[in-house]
Symmetry: C2
Subunit: 478 residues, 2 copies
């Protein structure tokens, strides 16, 4: 063991997409950087979240689209070839090997230390390596925590013994369980219910509340519930799971619901939320509480830590639990760290290159269900809570020619929230098949604060689903 620490300008803990991008941006600013990772370089997104989940979902959604098209529908009535879908998923996760990601780090000249990184006082990180040793690192300028989150499990007696699925199992499973119970009503729950139902499981979705996707416009969750039911998912609201038991490690799972109902399944996925991955990263050595989210300012600097050397980007700061938004923060934090290291001024006014303004105003999200949900900015309720004077405009996507051409029986809805004082949009939500790529038009409009008067000159091509923009503007004009 070498007691003299290796010194870098920047130390990044966690080599998911966020950590990778932050390190790369720090390097681009001329700083030396090292990244610490205890698992696979590439992180949750590459191996157990975005990539595998979308690889599972894409054929399911393409089949749902094809089913709505006379002339093609008859050919796709049969089930998906599950083995082929899983094999493709395996390719997208690089078979859970990180050689490619490691090579990328090398290509951008960021050092990698494999092992469990813990803060060890200001600007110090101790990495416990697999061989039982410790690598000590010291940062001249900054340490950035990019450790993300882990799946939360309910505090239920015996839950650890029943081998529950979390998002990791749901995205990496090697075969479809005959019966899958999914506990939760958020994005992971609805996406995985969609995927495994299409891949051959009989899915039961157990939702504690009375709606799905509670963070977006209410009609989104309603339409997704309809879609899940039509795909064959047994969707049950108001079901609070009281206990769970299993016959042996891999036998039948039985869930007991408050009120007495019982659900049997071959696997159970708990998708009830995320917990910050900060329980064992030495937060206590710098005066922070282990297991807590790390609050940051708009430059991604952790608040409440002396010396301004600690940053946190991505899920762990709890601003927006989305890979793309974490990468956005990473680009900004990397630039901030670079500028501050060189003593350059850091413009902290909104929308400057050094502040993550979009975290407040324009966080986009696509939920890859059937129908898809695509939302950016504030919902109507959020805008009202924020005290904005708004008009909320809705439009039935089925009335748009491009949507009805997209597939027979098209159902969807669009909403835009107009800020009456500022004259631009605060938020936009689209629900419907094929709306995922439409979202970025809204993201540009919201983040760009494009005046509604100007949006009239942004003509949607006919006949695309995008024509809903014209309909929304016409409805707003009223």
């Amino acid at each position: 063991m070498n007691d003299a620490p290796r010194t870098y300008d920047v130390i990044v803990i966690g080599a998911g997409p966020v950590g990778e991008n932050l390190a790369e941006r720090a390097r681009a600013a001329g700083l030396s950087a090292v990244i610490v990772e205890s698992e696979l370089v590439g992180g949750e997104c590459s191996y157990w979240a975005c990539m595998p989940s979308k690889a599972l979902l894409r054929p399911a959604l393409a089949r749902a689209d094809a089913k709505r098209l006379p002339g093609l529908s008859r050919a796709v009535q049969g089930p998906l070839d599950t083995a082929a879908v899983l094999a493709r998923r395996d390719d997208f996760t690089s078979h859970w090997k990180d050689d490619g990601q490691q090579a990328w780090l090398t290509s951008v000249d960021v050092d990698l230390v494999r092992g469990h990184g813990r803060l060890d006082g200001p600007r110090q990180v101790a990495v416990a390596t697999a061989d039982g040793g410790t690598v000590r690192l010291a940062a001249r300028h900054a340490v950035a925590v990019c450790t993300g989150t882990t799946a939360a499990l309910p505090p239920m007696p015996g839950i650890a013994d029943i081998n529950p699925w979390t998002s990791r199992d749901a995205t990496s499973a090697k075969k479809a369980p005959r019966r899958l119970a999914v506990v939760g009503g958020g994005v992971v729950a609805v996406e995985m219910a969609t995927a495994w139902q299409a891949l051959g499981s009989q899915v039961t979705l157990l939702v504690r509340g009375d709606s799905l996707l509670p963070k977006v416009e209410p009609f989104a969750g309603e339409m997704v519930a309809d879609g899940l039911r039509e795909a064959g998912v047994d969707v049950r609201f108001g079901t609070n799971v009281a206990f769970v038991e299993r016959d042996g490690a891999h036998g039948e799972v039985r869930l007991g619901v408050e009120g007495g109902a019982r659900v049997s399944a071959d696997e159970v996925l708990f998708a009830i939320g995320r917990a910050p991955h900060t329980g064992d990263i030495g937060l206590e050595t710098v005066g922070l509480k282990p297991g807590s989210w790390l609050p940051v300012d708009d430059t991604c600097q952790v608040t409440g830590v002396d010396g301004g050397w600690l940053y946190a980007a991505g899920d762990v700061n709890h601003r927006a639990l989305l890979t793309h938004q974490g990468k956005y923060q990473a680009r900004i934090a990397g630039a901030v760290i670079g500028a501050r290291a060189k003593g350059e001024p850091v413009d902290e006014t909104p929308w400057s290159p050094y502040v993550a303004t979009a975290d407040h105003a324009a966080v986009p999200q696509v939920v890859f269900t059937d129908p898809e949900v695509a939302a950016v900015g504030l919902s109507a309720a959020e805008a009202e809570q924020a005290g904005r004077r708004t008009t909320v405009v809705d439009y039935d996507l089925a009335q748009v020619a491009g949507a009805s051409l997209y597939g027979d029986g098209y159902r969807g809805r669009a909403r835009m929230v107009v800020d009456l004082d500022r004259g631009h949009l605060l938020g936009v939500t689209f629900v419907g098949p094929g709306v995922g790529e439409l979202l970025h038009s809204a993201t540009v409009a919201v983040a760009g604060e494009v005046p509604v008067d100007r949006l009239w000159h942004a003509v949607p091509a006919y006949p695309t689903i995008s024509e809903v923009w014209l309909r929304l503007l016409e409805a707003y004009r009223g």
Copy 2:
């Protein structure tokens, strides 16, 4: 025959989408309006262009998408059910009946006169009706010509005798010809080649020049040519058709190509361009040349006509031969006519509600081929011709995670043209499967003149194809 003319504030000649929208906007401004139509209310777009062509293409593109997805691909190797696709197309054209459109006119309180409308001196229109009569109309404020275009045929001896297909036949045919020759290399040619090849025809595409889609970025035409060839279309460049002959009215067609080659087919589609539908609308009575395009200013007022009472919107003014852009002009012209009738000021500065600025800066177009082509604003060549100081940024869409998830072997490309002096985008082009709905993001950015610095805050959702925006910005940053 009643010699006293019926007087309206506004007379619109041509009840396609453009005429309909213009009349509706004039009504909304408080003016009385009448619309004259000799064919079906709803126009080319509804019956012989956008709607039927996209109804033919959508199943073909959905099948192409499905073929690129392991787990689904095996199911869709067979041909489309052509009869089912054609039946769906028939539904989208309302079986070539215009009751619904007529009812819409009634609902917005616009009168309809069926018959052939001709200008008859300033502010006068004479409509020759089917019963041999004439309805005389007089306009208090404006006459708007919205007669669109017709398919151009080459000046070739005997062409009228061989029953050639034009876009109308190609979109309304009741069965797939065994062999279809398509002459042309523009949008109609490549879309109809795509559709009919997928519907069972063996298509030969005869292109006079050496590229397809000459009006957009060159790589678009190249990728579409590759896609057509892979679908089985025989694409031949540099083929100038010298003569055409046919055995009887419906026998085999033989085309002779300069240089000696012969092509045999069961039908031949000429898609070589459009001609203004102004040959017999009385232009000579107001000092204009029959058969000419009608040049307009940015308020859509025809230039060179005394009194400022004549407007032209849509294809016929030759600004942008696209339904959605014509409707945009119609909204503007209707508002202009309304304001001028009331003596209200008409702001003619760029991007005002009264000028069609987007016609110069931000015309979007989607070509529904495999791959799709989606472009808005200026191409690199157009920007250079316009003397702008630009940087052109390209990105390979296959490198975008969302694109590779969309389908195996994804091929596509994106380009953005940055105005270095203004700091915003002049044009964007996407080519690839599934990019159609992505276009509106670019249209908002270009029409909104959103600064590139701000576009960094418009975060694309991961993993969508839209992430190409981030890659383009990164490539621009360099």
